[in-house]
Symmetry: C2
Subunit: 270 residues, 2 copies
DNA sequence: TCATACCGACCAACCGTCGGTTTTTAAGGT
DNA sequence: ACCTTAAAAACCGACGGTTGGTCGGTATGA
């Protein structure tokens, strides 16, 4: 590398930044990055943006993360780690297979309700165009954790004769896939809730969940009404929890992909 | 950037490149891009790569496509356009709802078998890390086309009393989601086939398809064995069609994400 | 005093633009 | 018919500005 070699000799004079413990800085950077991804999306957020938001230099950042991608991995890991704790206790519930199944569903629903804002991030942001990569990873990580649990539950029910299932793995996978499609419905519901139409949104969601429950009944070989995905009115409060926690609306990033405007302004007034 | 600033005055002397009709060049570029994406993945392919592969200049490229993203859109459009023609005829089949359903499934299976190489592209490439964006688009476009058809078929069967279905849309969505999960299985099967273990791969696939069929039976409220996803041995020949058409193995792009090696070589010897 | 958190100037590479050139097509004049 | 002229479209490749990532070096807590 042969460039002007003497400009580097200038001495750093304004290092007023504090020195933090490793995990502190990491999570601080993670928080900053997550906030930015929420507002703008993966591609539209540059490393420089994260640097500014976190208040750290480039060198500092690359001391903790090896690449922009690494940021995503860490984000996913943090999320799934937290999510696992939420539903881990439901594994050793009591009762027969069906009761345990319903308990598990209820636990994950409850966890979802309690983590509204965070969920909104992975619900709202991941689905906006340009974030498919993150979404896929989150999804894969999530499935990797929940699929074995679900399959275990179903297999157990099949062994005890409570369920009538030809292939537990396939059924578990299908149920999970069902939830995958639900995201779109949830997204629409959140949107409607934001627009003030909570009742209609809750009703629609409730209908979908009821439909799903009946499908799962069939998949498990149970009479209709066995599986209960939600008590009445449960989704209303869940929607309320997920819906925008602050009064301010998001900036509505109008640039899902890379900005092709090199003119002067690069970012809309947030 | 201070390099020789007057180099522009040199006159282009070697314009030996032929001039092609609009659609010709477009599809030529598309072919080149597709081949590269197959080999390396979305992020690892630069515009310059496509330029070189297609034998066209940057200006020429941007005369036909507005951005790299546009390339993907065009690719998706071209694919779905071709795919639609393949199964369009199956819509007006004869017989009762179940027979029509089976015909539809059979038609799409047949189409899949006939377009092995192309399918392999969307199967093999889209699933490699870093291609989630394309995969999501392909998937969305595909669903947008096939979901209404499937739902129509199911609704019709529900009206005629042939099917027992609470929510046709939900069931259609679930069946489609089933196919989504199947991709992973197919991928594994293709891999096994490449490794020479065609029999085992076909057997595994056959088992999965049988399981799926029984699930769909339940979803549609039919007795077991009604839905037929494949005649015996059908998957063997399909696998054979999909499996690598050429004897040479792909370069196995070792850099799914951006290459952080600025040393000297940027691309491994292909 | 030694590891490590941290800094910021720098670099290569990339995408997309721009002024310009060449070829084709269309129009008009004779 | 033929030539001339003009507009349109295909095509070129050097350049600008931005981005992700590197590197030598500094500061600080244990």
């Amino acid at each position: 590398m042969d460039h002007d070699g003497d400009s580097r000799t200038q001495i750093n004079l304004q290092s007023k930044r504090v020195r933090l413990a490793r995990d502190m800085r990491r999570s601080q950077i993670l928080d900053a990055a997550q906030a930015l991804f929420v507002a703008r999306g993966w591609d539209a957020v540059t490393i420089a943006d994260v640097l500014a938001e976190a208040g750290i230099s480039k060198g500092g950042f690359y001391h903790h993360f090896s690449a922009k991608e690494d940021l995503l991995d860490a984000l996913v890991e943090r999320f799934t780690e937290r999510a696992m704790d939420g539903t881990a206790g439901a594994r050793e519930a009591e009762g027969d297979a069906l009761a345990r199944f319903n308990t598990f569903v209820d636990a994950s629903n409850r966890w979802r309700a309690e983590h509204g804002p965070e969920l909104r991030f992975f619900l709202d942001v991941m689905l906006q165009p340009g974030n498919e990569t993150q979404f896929a990873r989150i999804n894969a990580a999530s499935a990797e954790v929940t699929l074995p649990v679900l399959r275990g539950l179903i297999e157990e029910g099949a062994c005890s004769g409570r369920f009538d299932v030809p292939d537990a793995g396939l059924v578990a996978e299908t149920i999970l896939a069902l939830g995958h499609g639900r995201r779109a419905a949830l997204r629409a519901a959140v949107k409607a809730t934001d627009a003030g139409d909570l009742d209609a949104a809750a009703l629609t969601l409730e209908a979908r969940m009821a439909g799903e429950a009946r499908l799962i009944d069939r998949l498990l070989g149970l009479p209709p009404g066995s599986v209960v995905l939600s008590e009445a009115g449960k989704h209303r409060e869940m929607l309320a929890a997920i819906a925008a926690p602050c009064g301010d609306r998001r900036p509505r990033a109008p640039k899902p992909t890379r900005t092709p405007k090199p003119g002067s302004e690069r970012r809309p007034p947030c």
